[in-house]
Amino acid sequence: MKGLVILLLMTLVFTAGCGNETPAPSQQPAEAGGIFIEGVSGGDAETLNWILASDGSSLSYASYTIGSLATYDNDWNVVLRHLAKPVEASGDGLTYTITIRDDLKWSDGTRVTAEDYVYTLKNLMFSDWLNYPYQTDWQEMVDGETIFVEVEAVDQTTFVITRQTVDPEFADNAIYNLTPYPKHIAVKYEGDVKAFTQAEEFNNLSYTGNLGPYRFKEWIRNDKYVVERNPDYYLGQEDDSPYFEQYVTKMLGTTATVHAALEAGDITYSGIDPEKVAKFTELEGINVYTVPTSAYDLVIYNMRNNGWDGLKQKEVRQALSMSIDKQAVINSIRLGFGDPAFSFIPKPSPWYTEEGVPKFGYGPLHDKKKAKEMLYAAGYGARQPDGSIAVQDKDGKPLKLTLVTTPGSRLAEDLAFLVKQELADIGIEVEVKLVPWPTLLRKHVMNKVPGSDQEPRNNNGPEAVSEEPWDFIVMVFNTHPIAPSGSRVFFSTEGGLNFWGYSNPRVDELFVNIRSKEALDIEARKSMYAELSQLIAEDQPVDFLSFPRGNHGFQANVEGIDVGMRLSWNYHKWYFSKP
């Protein structure tokens, strides 16, 4: 699950892609130096004590100074970082042997050992006093009970993780992201959440030694986060990387000021809004790279008892999706920077397939006339004297449905109003309600069985309903391209985030099978994902709209960028051609 957030983080901060195929220069700069300034318009991070963080910015800030076991390149090959060699999985898929490098050191010079990783997992991440937000990555279901995996140190550089159930994507979803805390420091705060939260070493990242390309220098809240070159960086011993003296994340309140700063040459890099891409592409001093992402926008259909009854019928959902033009979403809202989405798996994923996947809302399946006929056939229409169909509810009244989304995001609002317009064309009136996120979360997403004493959750079973009724919600989700099985939380009957009440026993079975011994065979897993994509696209519990592409503007003197979906995978090797 942490993978989902890491992916989002990658999309928003470093981001990814493979639009312009620029070969990555392999040569080192003659002279390293300069300050790289990344301009961002969002909010600041919350903490550098990363185990407590729930936001992408915090994880991103910490990642400059303390890396993880492995990462991926643009072709989604695993690139070793703290790992000395690839993770060894046993033939039965239950045991993972992890060997870390022997040259990793904490700031006080002591060696980073396997015991630090084991301690971080067992005493911090699995503990009930810290409430690590991504515990589910390390849990499995055994005999109806949720338990943590077992972890044990073998020697100074090796530790073993043992599972009782097979999950072929466990390494991708959990192991590669693992980052250690120094046991000899953390042990002082163990069990005292307040002391751990306020521990100076963890809040100043003063312990990170040679574990990352940069070292913490300064953090002025709501202004800038500054890291400086780490001369001891373990990978830098071979190639003298990183090549910037400092890497600064500068917070500028609005995208307009970020764009102005990039144009003025005051910052080195920023994301670029679609409407500004043409302008920046023409500027001589800026290189713009357009890359695919793994996020997708969607319209969620409420199939619970407080949604419109029609949404429980597959044919009705298909008809609605057939009316919403995916190309219009890409052209009018994404301004051409997007790809149509038909399932939860993004195109660059090795598991992506279009075979047998119905493309509602695209090409021949974007057909409003046919959509009306389908609604009529489902009992939601009346034939007019001229032969046309008037879409209406079963009691003959006009259909008036409610779409909920959050205010403040132009994208969400534009999508909401496009859906409203498209459905108006087939005679369905949609009321758009913009509600703040905490309200949406509590009143529309969380649900419980009426009259019960259940605590509201995101999925409290098929009979549960949210406090406020709704029919559609517009949101953005994310999929790990290498390990899409994490999306079971959205699409399996008991999925923790399946707040819209979707259920298909075969889909549940496939999600279980994908995390079984059978799926260790790549071809078998491929066919499972193909069937999943097909079934979910056929059922249309949600209308997948588009996979947006990200646009990134760099000053032209930045070299070493390997343009692709994982744009930042080698950021420690970026440099200025003229520092």
Binding site: V5, K194, I220, R221, M446
Partner: protein
Amino acid sequence: MKKAGLRGYIIKRLIYAAIITWGVVTITFVLLRVGPMSPADKYLSNMSARTQDPAQVVAAIEARYGLDKPIYEQYFDYVVNLARGDWGWSFSNSLPVVTLIRRHWVYSFQLILLSMLFSATLGILIGVFSAVKRYTRTDYLATLFSFIGISIPNFWLGIMLILIFSVQLGWFKSYYDTGLPMFSLANLKALVLPVITLGTGMMAGYTRYARSATLDNLKQDFVRTARAKGLPERVVIGKHVLRNAILPIITIIMFDLSGIVFGGAYLTEIIFGIPGLGRVSFNALFASDYPVVVTITLIGAMVVLLTNLATDIVYTRLDPRIRYD
């Protein structure tokens, strides 16, 4: 009598201020803690955390920040700690609140101070000049300028200034650089665009008030007398008219000052990337970071109370007819 009166008056006002401050702290604390938002929201919003039991997540986060105690106990602890100088821990910044405020107040202070100086000085000068040159082209131009100044939203003005003076002309950096030494010409230069952005609207307002107040005073008998006595016009305006006209403007300036502290500077801080208290407080508000919000509200309340007190004292200096009682 006068000195004793002043001391007694100040003591009385300070006692009122302490009571009001306590009221502000209590109301802000209660409103934030009984409201629907919680510091745990951000965890619930997180896709992964939401697969866990929300009740368990909320309980754990609240325990982490000491929010699991009864609200009266939290309030009592908070007030006692506040009195001891411990302003709490900022959830959204991972810092003691006192450190956060100590690091950030200066950015707001310099922006507000320079904006006030800029707007008050120019506004009063233009307003007085406009009144003296009533119904001339100069007056019409000043009037037009002040209407435009009042009407322009400062977020638009700020972005325009950046596009013209930073992007096109390259005279200024497009954002404020906190790395510059505080007392340096470079820092002053970095504040030029933010000060114009924040100060233009206020300056336009002061121009209108100064013009109106000057015109009122120009009609008074004492002005006629001064002129009849043969005093030069600059003395009549500078010594007699301005001194009387400035009183209502001081009230307005002090009122504006409290308004800016409470958030008027926020947009300017956002546009120019200035990490002042405006930005800090708004971000804290959206993160339900009540120790920060209560502290900044408290500071704002104290600024208002103290500026009001200062205004009243300045009034008595400028106008001897005004008494403390």
